[in-house]
Amino acid sequence: MPTGILSYSAYIPRYRLAHEELGSALGMGGGAGSRAIASYDEDTTTMGVEAARRALGNGARPAALYFATTAPAYFDKTNAAAIHAALDLGSEGFALDIAGSARGAVGALRAAAASGGLAILSDLRTGKPGSSDERDGGDAAAAFLFGPGERVIAEVLGEASATAEFLDRWRRPGEMASGQWEERFGLEAYLPLIRDASSRALAAAGIEQADHVIVSSPHSRAARTAARELVGRVAEEAPAIGYAGAADPGIRLASVLDRAGADQSILLVVAADGCDATVLRTTEAITSHRAEKPVAEQASGGREVRYATYLTWRGLLDRELPRRPEPARPAGPPSARSESWKFAFVGTKCDDCGQVHVPPRRVCVGCGATDHMSRAALAGRAGRVATYTVDRLAYSLSPPMIDAVVDFEGGGRYTLEVADAGPEDVDIGTALELTFRRLYTAGGVHNYFWKARPV
């Protein structure tokens, strides 16, 4: 049985910071284009959940999750465990963070390819105001499910790696931006490594020129320069959302998979503290198993925000808050008891009368029966606005807050914040889908839960 990628997905957040907006805010040049930015209520964990949910649309339950990011929401706590919970994978299985550098992306892909499982690549890129990291970075996530099966859409043909220790880019924990050495120093260090690893990978795969070539690196000039040498037969149409760190190889691979024909080769080169080159080949199955939401579609459009909004969302602008109490940190034991509710939006359905309850209840709201309940997993169900309101008093980093009473297909109702929308996007009857978000952080604890967004 061939092993390879069974399904894949990409998630690009809704918001954009235009280069022109950034430039004019800081009195610098702008230029065309924009970068993708995560909303104030997203982080690498929530974006990872989004990508993972999409990749597992067919109901697959991977036994292992490998989560790569350079911006983990927590240290000293496995962020992949939260993703595991959000995917309602129960108590069995492996979940691992490969956090810290962009090379983690390769780690996640290789581990998933070797053992079977889901590689989740997610990143949030920030730099000091006015830096190229800020301007040229991008926030996104992608996921790849590996395993055996007839539906493998791409297999790994060969790979090669080179590793070198040199001071090109670094960041100490707790600092908000990375340091970089002179650009030409890094360029000179990277190019030989890229050439070496690529040629060995191609040789291992038995091909001379790949159909598609992706060169991803935190050293943007090294990537551009190498890409002029390693040319694929098909020109890459990389999404212009910015360099997405550990998610970058994923987003660009997903973009290629969105368009590649059957039996085409892909050379994926990731240059971060070395170079890892992987050669894949698509199968017949690719043409009928594309991701539901292509990268190009997600990358286009998007809602632009002001630079001050971006800074506020990133916590770089400490704004005056309304006179409302700070939210309370979610408590450990209640959150653990309600894990499947809080992380996976699982409620209960009465076995006697069919009433669906979110959150879970032991005593039925409909018929009063006690402990006659079964699980009801609602995260994937469609919702509709029963009624809603715009709250201008509530504390929010992106006011005004919109709260909607959402009725779910098949039963169940809950009041949720509406994400990624303004008052003009919401009305009674608007179709909504659930999205996993970080509501706020209080007492050092992130409060993860769900919001609803217009479909």
Partner: protein, 399 residues
Amino acid sequence: MASHGIRDRVAIVGMGCTKFGEHWGRSIDDLLIDAVGECLDSVEDIERHDVDAYWLGTMGSGTSGMTLSRPLQIENKPVTRVENYCATGSDAFRNACYAVASGAYDVVMAVGGEKLKDSGYSGLVVPPASNDGTASEASAPAVFSLLAPAYANKYGVSEADLKEVMSRIAWKNHRNGALNERAQFRAEVSMEKIAAAPLVAGSLGIFDCSGVSDGAAAALIVRSEDALRYTDRPTYVKALAFAAGTAQGPTDPAYDFTSFGEVVASAKDAYRQAGLEDPPTELSMAEVHDCFTPTELVLMEDLGFSQRGEGWKDVMDGRFDLDGELPVNPDGGLKSFGHPIGASGLRMLFECWLQFRGEAGARQLEAPTLGLTHNLGGQPGACVSFVSIVGAERGVAGA
């Protein structure tokens, strides 16, 4: 003051009590559902819909009556929340009794519950109302630890002897708790281990402090004339007394930290309501508020079980042991049963209930007829005190 009481006018006809302990996997909803369920199961002819009104006692695990009506899906019934520090559950019970005695309702339930283990903090967490920051931040063990040196000093007891007395109280209550399947701590603890435990505040060690736990308990109450419809062994309520002090103790030079005036006053009121003349002799048992070991010592004197300054001798003589003349905290007390605030007062009534019905297993006393329950909330010199007297029979109290 006119405190006539409602002696023998109402009776408990059903009770339930969860295990107390660190229930990480159970929410306040679960505990309330369980306690109410057990309570209703203990009596044949009462279903949930037969209960006319509820009184819920919880100090910090929920606000309003919906804390009970939501998980139980109670529709269209009154649910009142009562709060009175550690006397919360008892005061919920008291108010439920008055409502049924007044005739407003026929069948009522008093429920108490607390989820202390959700806060993430060690010990009690009582978020204060907005204030000027000048009030003492001293912990509960610290303020109660002040009783020990004051008592020792006043009555000429050496520090070492008093420590032994405190340990004896802890030893007794753990011994009793070891016989109680619902208690948080169910193992006997030796005097040596108690004495050698790390200190928490003053001379109080870990074993001198009551357990911090989660739990819930419930009681069904009807008018006495209806009681025999539901059970042939109701528990009759003979006295309900409550006293809130002026809270001046900590700033009053005359307060000497060897007595709780509120306890003395509420006990007096309770004995009068019940018609008791010689309480230590007439009472078969007492469940008192042993939040800390020196507290129980002082309570023996404030409740009139011992002469002033002699309580410590009575403790060492075993007078209050399970097989002593007046068993105190036969179910293990706050010490080993645990102290989920809103539930404690009802848990004490539960032990009386079991004892009167001959259902106390290894702790069973011989033909008990009258019991006292007591709760204390606040701190020495600034507290509230509740005392109830309950009995197995209607009519004249005592033998």
